[in-house]
């Protein structure tokens, strides 16, 4: 299974985020003002701030600890700061949010 159903779109406030726990660490799932979703590691490359708690504006998020700004699309830090966060594919189907688990799931021996 590569796409995991993590919840309904309405579980995430518009211009907000929720966290999903995975074997590869916490993933922040963002919802923009116009109902797009994005997923990225919930850890700022600066000092580990929880990006899920940042202010979401357009398709960017501002880290709550020291205000670095990241593109939700590419995971790249914007402006003068250098660094990037891992992003993961996520999509909406019939109001449900599906997260691509290929790089997040624990592999088990068959």
């Amino acid at each position: 299974m590569t796409w995991a159903d993590i919840g309904a779109l309405d579980d995430i406030p518009a211009q907000g985020a929720r966290v999903v726990k995975t074997a590869a660490g916490c993933v922040a799932v963002f919802r923009t003002a116009d109902d797009r979703v994005f997923a990225m590691a919930d850890q700022c490359p600066h000092k580990g701030g929880p990006l899920s708690e940042g202010i979401v504006h357009g398709t960017s998020v501002t880290c709550p600890l020291h205000a670095w700004v990241f593109s939700l699309e590419s995971g790249e830090a914007q402006g003068p700061d250098a660094g990037a966060v891992a992003t993961f594919a996520v999509r909406i189907e019939a109001g449900r949010i599906l997260l691509d688990m290929r790089r997040l799931a624990r592999r088990v021996a068959a």
Partner: protein, 811 residues
């Protein structure tokens, strides 16, 4: 021999299909057409003009008796098909069985009905067919009250139609802005304004709780306690494909009846088209793709090859006088960029969404003349790189001027107040300039505008620039952030002068350059709106910094600290026990006495916050707002109750002040101190507001600080009674709330506006009283314990992870 074709549903899709089929292969089939409605095909889209009175039903009929007769079609109108027997290839209706060689299901959709109490009362209608339309026409007349539930395309057309007939209409919409599927918040705001101008009341974020009434509908009650009287309720909250027949016949059904590219269902003898189908997991709610389906199905039935490929759709709201257009995919997304154009003066908003060299989507409001052109660029996937810079100005345009930052000021009416201190309106300033006052000093001398606190200087200069034209150069204060050219002060004043009451309203009216603002402007705007419109505006939690959104201070490791209020620094053994119990129960990392005379529980996990708050609430404690731009602490000393030097009850006064001020939002944090004598053990003279008790009364001083700057307070007033202290402090806090720029502590603001001006406002009894009243009004709404609200059982799940997939395994 002719084969037998049976069609269930005489709607928009099957009507077009029949026309095409009979053109291609007039003699292939004997056709029987069933329709549940007691009539044949008509243009359903045009029900809205029928409702508003701009058209009659007769004008929207597409196929009349003569048309069916001429083509030998057997019409079975008013007759429901109740079952399909696939084994015997017959459909069953009231008048018996009808055999088919080929069957077409074109049953459209059924309106979704909210499962609330009262939904079946007479007077509750949906908006789908002529019966619904006639029911609305029968009720909608001057004086009648109608409530429309649902602020999407259909709901708004119903609302506008009934309003056009004179009814008083309220639209209740669950989301934050109208037509959220087609419009972004800015366009939604303009639409709301237009509808309100026609007398339609719009209630966003309204959840319907029940429809009330005995024999017929009388009112609609919302979750937030609002009740709207209603002679008619129109439910337009969405549609779902009408799939019951297909389900019962065990055809493959997802959300709709599943069809392939040839519009064939899982049974080769049965086809389906229209809103009832699902193609490649997609449903359809607008006619354009249905017409394409109709052509494909006609070809399939005529034995020709054809394949359905869904195309982009465009939406227009059919409300006369409202210009709105949205097409393609205008959501933000990976690699996508926005081009935004706003002309506040003319109420125009346009937004294009671009990816690489392609235009993906467009939203327009106010000026949709170029809609069709943009739509064709989207459909054709044209390379727009060469015209990118001027694309937003439409097909004929080259080298347009950028949006004018003066437009917002230009749009203000003459009576809009520019200078709050001296009550000077725009008209008076313009008259003075036209009368020869061409310098700022001259305007100040003749009108007094900008002559007091000076924060409106930018606006006065803009009025001068507008009146004098190119010759005048306005000052160069830094703008609020990169999203706007306006300064904080100008934004504050324009919000008041233009009565702007939402973030999208401010962004639209003031020509914001980004679609959704940024982390700098959003919290500032949210504060300004709360301070200026306590009754109308609702706090936007997503525009708040993490601490204020989560009502706790975030720590460097992502945990939080919890500080309950300890009024005036006074506590009880019971409170201390409850704090100790909470510290044990939630395994807090450290219990610390703060510099603000209370106790901090550090290292609480986010998911535990609601539970620890509930425990502290149970012991009678509320949030200490140790995280807010709002009232923090009121430090006190022991005062006359215990101390041998105390002159007044400083502890009691501190508690009273804290109980009056807590919960209020301010531009930056506010701290008070109350000392019982000039020895000043509560350090009152380095606080934002300090009270020092003396034999003859109380010395109130303001604008102290002991953080990054250390300042001694400056005297505001000296009064004789506690009541006067309370009034002076409330008035001063309100003065600060109404005038300071976001994130400026009191001392920074007083540096700008001058202590004299503050003293004069507080000294004047009428001004002081009015400020006090406005403060109390705001407190009547905002003085609520946020912990209690978020600790409610229904809220708790939102504080935990959305999902736990740690055990999820890949295959």
């Amino acid at each position: 021999m002719k084969r037998k074709l049976v069609i269930i549903g005489a709607g928009m899709a099957s009507g077009r299909m029949l026309e095409t089929l009979l053109d291609m292969a007039p003699d292939a089939y004997d056709v029987t057409l069933f329709n549940a409605e007691p009539r044949g095909n008509y243009n359903r889209l045009m029900l809205s003009p029928v409702l508003s009175g701009e058209k009659t039903y007769e004008e929207i009929v597409t196929h009349d008796e003569a048309w069916y007769a001429a083509r030998g079609i057997e019409t079975r109108f008013g007759e429901h098909v109740v079952r399909i027997d696939r084994a015997r290839q017959v459909v069953i209706s009231a008048r018996g069985e009808t055999h088919y060689d080929k069957l077409v299901i074109a049953t459209g959709s059924a309106p979704f009905i909210l499962p609330v109490q009262g939904k079946d009362l007479p007077g509750v209608v949906t908006y789908r067919d002529l019966e619904d339309t006639n029911a609305m026409i029968a009720i909608a007349r001057p004086g009648a009250k109608a409530v429309v539930i649902g602020g999407g395309l259909l709901g708004l057309e119903a609302a506008a139609g009934m309003a056009a007939r004179g009814a008083e209409v309220v639209v209740i919409h669950i989301m934050g802005h109208l037509m959220e599927r087609q419009l972004d918040p800015s366009a939604g705001y303009l639409l709301q304004k237009d509808l309100e101008r026609r007398g339609i009341k719009v209630h966003c974020r309204g959840a319907t709780k029940a429809i009330l009434g005995h024999d017929r509908v009388e009112a609609v009650a919302l979750d937030d306690g609002t009740v709207y009287g209603a002679d008619l309720v129109c439910m337009a909250v969405g549609i779902r494909p009408e799939v019951r027949l297909a389900n019962d016949a065990h055809l493959e059904v997802g959300r709709g009846i599943v069809v392939n590219d040839q519009m064939t269902t899982s049974d080769p003898a049965i086809h389906a088209l229209g809103e009832c189908v699902e193609h490649n997991r997609q449903l359809f709610g607008l006619v354009a793709p249905l017409y394409d389906q109709a052509k494909v199905l006609a070809a399939t039935l005529a034995g020709q090859a054809a394949a359905f490929r869904p195309v982009q759709t465009a939406t227009k709201l059919k409300v006369t006088g409202v210009d709105l257009f949205s097409a393609g995919d205008f959501a933000e997304g990976p690699g996508r960029e926005d081009i935004v154009f706003r002309d506040p003066g003319r109420g125009i908003y346009k937004r294009l969404v671009i990816e690489g060299d392609r235009l993906l989507g467009a939203v327009m409001y106010g000026d949709t003349a170029d809609g069709a052109w943009f739509f064709s660029q989207i459909k054709e996937g044209s390379d727009i790189s060469a015209m990118r810079d001027t694309l937003i100005f439409g097909p004929g345009f080259q080298g347009a001027a950028p949006a004018d930052p003066l437009a917002a000021v230009a749009a203000l009416p003459p009576e809009a107040e520019i200078c709050g201190c001296n009550g000077v309106c725009k008209g008076r300033i313009v008259t003075a300039i036209q009368g020869g006052a061409v310098t700022l000093d001259a305007v100040r001398a003749s009108t007094k505008a900008s002559a007091s606190c000076g924060t409106c200087t930018g606006l006065v200069e803009q009025v001068m620039a507008l009146t004098l034209g190119g010759g005048f150069k306005a000052n160069a204060n830094p703008p609020l952030c990169k999203c706007t050219d306006h300064t904080h002060e100008d934004v504050r004043r324009l919000i008041k002068a233009g009565a702007m009451k939402s973030i999208p309203a401010v962004m639209q009216e003031l020509g914001w350059k980004t679609a959704g603002g940024c982390a700098t402007c959003r919290p500032a705007l949210n504060y300004y709106l709360i301070a200026d419109w306590p009754l109308d505006y609702r706090d936007d939690r997503q525009s708040r910094f993490v601490n204020e959104r989560n009502h706790a201070n975030i720590q460097k490791d992502g945990t939080y600290s919890v500080v309950p209020r300890m009024w005036g620094g006074v506590t009880t053994p019971a409170e201390l026990r409850a704090i100790a119990d909470a510290a044990d129960k939630y395994k807090v990392a450290m219990v610390k006495v703060t510099g603000g005379q209370r106790i901090d529980l550090l290292g609480v996990r986010k998911e535990d916050l609601p539970a620890i708050w509930a425990d502290l609430n149970d012991a009678g404690m509320v949030s200490g707002h140790a995280y807010s731009k709002g009232l923090r602490t009121v430090k006190t000393c022991v005062g006359s109750e215990f101390c041998r030097f105390g002159t007044q009850d400083s502890t009691g006064l501190g508690i009273k002040l804290e109980k009056m001020l807590w919960g209020s939002w301010t531009p930056a944090k506010v701290k008070l101190g109350v000392s019982g004598c000039p020895r000043n053990c509560a350090e009152a003279t380095c606080k934002d507001i300090g009270v020092v008790c003396v034999d003859s009364g109380y010395e109130v001083s303001v604008a102290g600080a002991a953080g990054m700057d250390v300042r001694e307070t400056l005297p505001l007033c000296k009064v004789a009674t506690e009541a006067e202290v309370m009034e002076a402090v409330a008035a001063f806090v309100q003065l600060y709330r109404e005038n300071a720029r976001y994130l400026h502590r009191i001392y920074k603001w007083v540096d700008k506006v001058g202590l004299d001006w503050c003293q004069a406002q507080i000294a004047d009894p009428a001004t002081r009283r009015a400020l006090c009243d406005r403060f109390q009004l705001s407190q009547s709404i905002y003085q609520v314990d946020p912990w209690a609200e978020h600790a409610k059982p229904a809220e708790r799940a939102k504080w935990a992870a959305l999902a736990d997939l740690t055990l999820e395994a890949a295959e």
